[in-house]
């Protein structure tokens, strides 16, 4: 039953990558690919006065620093939630930290542009207070601004991986360490950090992949100082239509990723450790510092968003302070824009198809994988999660080049395919995680009691997978509605909601735009919270350890 899902990955991911590999050895003349084997694309990338390589090196250096800073800043917060916060309060912290992650990436970048830009809130305030006569570069279109935005964007992801590894930490280990004479600092370096090392490294890798593949943030926040390697790649497919050269740059990025991943894997001692059990223990030691840190971090996460909403409701023609009153004028203006409504409907249509496909195929694949063990399962799991290991820029390029090779027009279906390539793995993994504790003997028991396989599935497996399926549908919906870079690459003339917002942001910052961002934020918060209620509201009774009296 994994076959349909694997087919999607092969058609949408593996074959396109192969075509891309071939293209990278073909030259382009006048925007047309020429079927002639050559290394010229690669020699051009390595020569050209070193521009491309320097940008690659520069990108990796900056992104590596950003990922490191993100993980380091995340750690105290994750430690606080996993070890120090009371178990009954953990879901509150968790939801507070993760919810922003599922709201529009574009809108969140926009929230910071609103703060940082030349006309951003910070520069305006500085000038109004006569602390600066002209916009300060540091807060507009410069590297520090990108760094802060990156930390903001990827904090939830880094938090989640660190938190998951710390949640297994047995608090008694810390007591044992201090009993054996370790001071708090030594406990941290000798017990806690080694314990969650693999989680920290995984968080770093995930942040790195997303940041290095990001196109939006450097463009919107960084301006001319924000040229990343992925911008160079995308540019080859804009006006210049350098298919072969773009493909070669893509592979150089991929190869660099591969090297980096291998190095980190070796550094982390290979394999993910899975010791310890999920615990509801916590340390009763009070720590005002950690609590303050956690609250500050939550404020950092929400202030840009709150400002967005505030400006969207501000009865003033100018974006920014002072707040002259609350009005729904801008919000209603948003819904009067026919182009926007059209973009919204298109996005909804695409999201619906992508979600249905992903959830149905993902459920089949996850159920099958939950039933099997060993090599077969590992191969399937690897194939299905591969698209998530690559930056979306590369996935999008694969689809574009693949469609060019077979001469298919880009359009609605190419966008749907691009979305399914990454929503399907997400759906499969989420449902699989839900089924992980599922006792397979239950299906056997149902059949033993007279249920045919299809009824055993309907009565036993499906109801227990359902919260996972619903959560997967929600997450896939959010991802599809928000997807920018792949859509940007593979679209024909279609304008989805994120494409509409992107072009609007580039044009100018207006109160209408603030109102639109506010509407999107409120809508996605609502969907996420509803989804969380459905997924976690039910009693998680399965997967319980055998109970002893």
């Amino acid at each position: 039953m994994t076959v349909p899902a694997i087919l999607v990955v092969i058609v949408g991911f593996i074959l396109p990558l192969l075509v891309m590999a071939v293209y990278s050895f073909w030259p382009t003349h006048n925007g047309e690919i020429v079927h002639q084997w050559t290394f010229s694309n690669y020699t051009k990338a390595f020569a050209s006065g070193g521009t491309y390589l320097r940008t690659l090196f520069d990108t990796f250096k900056f992104v590596g620093l950003s990922a490191l800073v993100t993980v380091l800043l995340t750690f105290p917060f994750a430690y606080f939630v996993a070890v120090r916060a009371r178990p009954s309060m953990r879901p509150v912290w968790l939801i507070a930290a993760i919810v922003p992650f599922w709201t529009s990436y574009l809108v969140r970048v926009f929230a910071w542009q609103n703060l940082f830009g030349d006309n951003g809130v910070i520069n305006q305030a500085l000038m109004r207070l006569h602390l600066a006569s002209s916009p300060v570069e540091f807060f507009a279109y410069d590297r520090p601004a990108i760094l802060i935005t990156f930390v903001y964007l990827l904090f939830p992801m880094a938090f989640l991986t660190t938190y998951i590894s710390l949640e297994r930490l047995d608090v008694r280990l810390l007591r044992a360490a201090s009993d054996l004479g370790a001071r708090p600092w030594r406990s941290l370096t000798a017990v806690i950090i080694p314990f969650c090392k693999s989680g920290l490294i995984a968080g770093f890798i995930m942040c790195f992949i997303v940041m290095a593949g990001d196109y939006v943030t450097p463009t919107l926040i960084g301006g001319t100082n924000g040229i990343f390697f992925s911008n160079l790649i995308v540019n080859q497919f804009g006006g210049s239509l350098q298919w072969g050269f773009g493909a070669a740059l893509g592979f150089i990025l991929l190869a660099s990723f591969a090297v980096l991943l291998i190095v980190l894997r070796v550094a982390s001692g290979g394999g993910v450790q899975s010791v310890g059990e999920y615990t509801r223990q916590y340390s009763r030691e009070r720590s005002p510092f950690l609590l303050g840190y956690a609250i500050a971090f939550i404020l950092f996460l929400y202030i840009p968003v709150v400002l967005l909403i505030l400006f969207g409701l501000n009865a003033s023609d100018i974006v920014g302070f002072p707040i002259k009153g609350i009005t729904l004028h801008w919000v209603s203006a948003v819904f009067d824009d026919p182009n926007l409504i059209q973009a919204l409907m298109l996005s909804l249509q695409i999201a619906l198809i992508a979600v249905l496909t992903s959830v149905v195929l993902g459920t089949l694949a996850a159920v099958q994988m939950a039933r099997t063990k060993g090599k077969y399962r590992n191969v399937n799991l690897f194939l299905l999660s591969m698209p998530l290991l690559l930056p979306p820029v590369i996935l999008g390029l694969g689809v574009v080049i693949g469609m060019n090779a077979i001469g298919v027009e880009r359009g609605l279906w190419s966008i749907v395919l691009a979305h399914v390539i990454f929503t399907l793995p997400v759906a499969t993994l989420l449902i699989l995680v839900r089924l992980e504790g599922f006792d397979l003997a239950q299906e056997k028991a149902a059949m033993d009691l007279g249920a045919k396989p299809i009824r055993a599935f309907a009565y036993i497996t499906l109801p227990q997978a359902l919260p996972g399926i619903i959560a997967a549908a929600m997450v896939c919906f959010a991802l599809s509605m928000d997807e920018f870079i792949m859509t940007f690459l593979v679209t024909g003339s279609q304008v989805t909601l994120p494409l509409y917002i992107y072009s609007a942001i580039r044009f100018q910052i207006s109160p209408e735009l603030m109102a639109l961002a506010a509407v999107i934020i409120v809508a996605s918060f609502t969907i996420i919270l509803l989804g969380a209620l459905v997924a976690f509201g039910r009693d998680r009774t399965w997967g319980r350890k055998e109970q002893r009296i």
Partner: protein
């Protein structure tokens, strides 16, 4: 008596494995169970007992052989078409349903009306002692209650054959003892045939009418628990059921009698019924049949007894008996079970750990078993 279960010539090899998990010999494994009988399949992990149970329940397809239940050939039938129900290891209760829905699941699958279902669920719940637990969530059950619920679910359809896969493995000792008694009571009251898989020889002997001992995919002996202890078929069986201290070594025939010469002890006895036909024997000294007296009374034994000098190492009290451990030399550790009176005499004799003593036994009490490892 009528035969409920008749398995003939079962063999099974799992893909990718060299050895047969069941039936390494060509003739395969055969076993029968009579109606109302509790048959225990006893053996260490990996001996093929769970595979055998799986073949009976239809979860594992045998490569060879046939399974008949109440005279009907069910070989190749899927689990949902068989008149068998199983109590799974770890119970496999459906966590998203309450007790009532779990127990009634099989009846629902059979299309039995809700009203009739209710009555039958109530009846089987009271049979296992879970009256009034209908609406309880599975997660709210204690280990023992979950065990009963799993039993009730398997019994609700009144199967011809009830299969139990290590059902008591997750319970603590006291509860396990209690559930063993209840299983026997349930079997008596329902008249159902039980096949019970376990690796615990005490459990098998406490509840089973007959025990089938398995080794490396073969059934090496099927007997009542008493017979199993009286005449283990081989050294393997004797060791697995812990019948006593096994002495092995060179054999010497003396008429009907055989002398086994161990490294530091010689034991003489008659070849038992079960082991006839074997060429080499090991001797089993059963703890209950041994006597111990002070070292200065050597040679005082009556006719037909043998003795050896040993050093008492320690004494273990198990709540009713004292078990004295005595070493002949490094090689042989003898165990002697003493009742209360015998232990009082042991103390009066001034015996205690560290002191030498004479351990003696009747030749007629020695069990000779085939020593396949010789």
């Amino acid at each position: 008596m009528t035969t409920t279960l008749n398995c003939q010539g079962l063999r099974k090899k799992y893909p990718g494995q060299e050895q047969y998990a069941l039936g390494p010999d060509e003739e395969g494994v055969s076993i029968q169970a009579e109606r109302g009988e509790l048959l225990a399949l006893l053996g260490p992990s990996g001996c093929g007992k769970t595979t055998t149970l799986g073949i009976m329940g239809g979860f594992v397809e045998a490569d060879q052989g046939r399974v008949e239940i109440e005279g009907r050939d069910v070989t190749g039938l899927k689990p949902y078409k068989r008149p068998t129900n199983t109590v799974f290891q770890g119970y496999a209760l459906f966590p998203h349903m309450n007790v009532e829905s779990n127990v009634g699941f099989g009846l629902k699958m059979d299309g039995i009306s809700k009203k009739e279902r209710q009555g039958r669920v109530d009846r089987v719940l009271s049979l296992v002692g879970l009256e009034g637990y209908n609406k309880r969530k599975v997660s709210e059950l204690s280990g023992g209650q979950a065990q009963r619920a799993a039993l009730a679910r398997a019994m609700a359809k009144e199967p011809a054959l009830l299969l139990l896969d290590e059902p008591l493995g997750a319970l603590d000792l006291k509860l396990r003892r209690q559930m063993q008694e209840e299983l026997v009571r349930l079997k008596e009251r329902s008249g159902t045939t039980f096949v019970h898989v376990t690796h615990d020889q005490e459990e098998a002997c406490a509840i089973a009418d007959r025990v089938a001992v398995m080794e490396d995919g073969r059934i090496v002996q099927v007997d009542t628990p008493e017979e199993l202890f009286r005449a283990p078929a081989s050294r393997y069986v004797a060791e697995f059921i812990n019948a006593g201290t096994v002495i092995s070594g060179e054999n010497a025939r003396r008429g009907d009698m055989i002398e086994v010469r161990g490294p530091d002890i010689a034991v003489t006895g008659a070849a038992s019924r079960a082991s006839n036909g074997s060429s080499t024997f090991a001797a089993v000294l059963v703890p209950k049949m041994l006597d111990i007296r002070p070292a200065d009374r050597a040679g005082e034994g009556e006719a037909g007894t043998d003795e050896v000098t040993a050093t008492i190492s320690h004494v273990v009290f198990n709540g009713s008996n004292h078990q004295v451990h005595a070493t002949v030399s490094e090689e042989t550790d003898l165990r002697i079970d003493l009742g209360q009176r015998e232990y009082a005499r042991f103390q009066e004799d001034g015996l205690e750990p560290g002191k030498p003593a004479i351990v003696s036994w009747h030749r007629s009490d020695v069990i000779m078993v085939a020593d396949e490892r010789a």
